[in-house]
């Protein structure tokens, strides 16, 4: 029950919030902007993420990507 409520509150509520104005991408390039922007991803990724709290790599992003520590 908690999770169902949170889905409505956060996911559905967030989607509504994001729809308050149109996205600033020209109509001709809709559905392509990010795809062109993705870089060399080939659909595979390492699962060797790293927690970011408490360490620093001087601003360089890890190749495998990382996550964000929370509560």
């Amino acid at each position: 029950m908690l999770f169902r409520k949170l889905f409505q509150l956060l996911v559905v509520g967030g989607a509504v919030l994001g729809a308050t104005s149109s996205c600033s991408t020209p109509a001709g390039s809709r559905r392509t902007a990010l795809a062109k922007d993705q870089g060399g991803g080939d659909g595979t990724a390492s699962d060797a993420g790293t927690a970011r709290s408490g360490d620093s790599d001087g601003g360089m992003a890890p190749d495998a990507g990382g996550g964000v520590s929370g509560w």
């Binding site: 999770f3 991408t25 902007a33 922007d37 993420g49 964000v68």
Partner: protein, 239 residues
């Protein structure tokens, strides 16, 4: 209050202080990045507001940390977390999903769970203050993902979700914990006992994060496999 729960609570609040400080810097940076490519988005203004919230939350957490006798170590520098292979706009989406859709969503579930318990009054005051803001912070992530999904295919994020999850929690969450970490007494001081923390983390993934990602076309299969590999305590329903 006995010594060990006091230490555990102090460390938790000190850790949260660092988390909140880092979130403040991240949100401010992401606000600048998003307005550069989506000038009409409400998200940058909301992220700036969130950054201010996080500074306030950090001060609240630091006060509680001090109450429990724990100093707060210096926070890490703000660092991008997206894989280097992603372009700038995709990298921003990666980071928003990791920090808001996953981490802030998990935080809301944690806060909601804690507030349903008997909590020390001064701790409850802080939890309530933070909880009312964290809902917005979670929504910001889903709002940005919804906007990006409306103009582009965002399924490329699917194989990256395990890396986001691995960076959100330590492997220790999925292993057996010391008795001290399982103490119900921790709840009174705003800290989830280990097994409850794991259960809330997994439940939030299954009930909120994974369905949310699927809603926008991001398969949760790699993430479910990652979770499945963490052992019996992390089993999920098949997608």
């Amino acid at each position: 209050m006995s010594e060990e729960p006091r230490r555990q609570a102090g460390e938790a609040w000190a850790f949260r202080t660092r988390v909140e400080r880092e979130a403040a810097r991240r949100f401010a940076r992401l606000a600048l990045a998003i307005e550069a490519f989506d000038a009409d988005s409400p998200v940058p203004a909301l992220l700036r507001r969130a950054a201010e919230d996080e500074h306030r939350h950090a001060a609240l957490c630091a006060d509680l940390s001090a109450v429990y006798g724990q100093p707060v170590a210096a926070s890490a520098e703000d660092a991008a977390i997206a894989p280097g292979s992603l372009g700038p706009r995709a990298a921003v989406l990666y980071e928003v999903v990791a920090s808001c859709c996953i981490t802030e969503t998990e935080s809301v579930a944690t806060l909601t769970t804690l507030l349903a318990e008997q909590v020390e009054p001064r701790v409850e005051k802080v939890l309530r203050e933070i909880a009312k803001d964290e809902v917005l912070h979670g929504r910001i992530g889903w709002a940005h993902l919804a906007r990006e999904a409306s103009i582009s295919v965002v399924s490329f994020l699917s194989p990256w979700i395990p890396a986001m999850l691995a960076g959100t929690v330590g492997e220790g969450l999925f292993t057996a914990a010391d008795t001290d970490l399982q103490s119900r007494e921790l709840l009174r001081h705003g800290v989830l006992p280990h097994s409850l923390k794991r259960s809330i983390f997994v439940g939030t993934l299954e009930g909120v994060v994974f369905p949310g990602l699927e809603k926008f076309g991001i398969s949760s299969r790699p993430a479910r496999q990652w979770l499945e590999a963490r052992g019996p305590g992390a089993r999920t329903q098949p997608s």
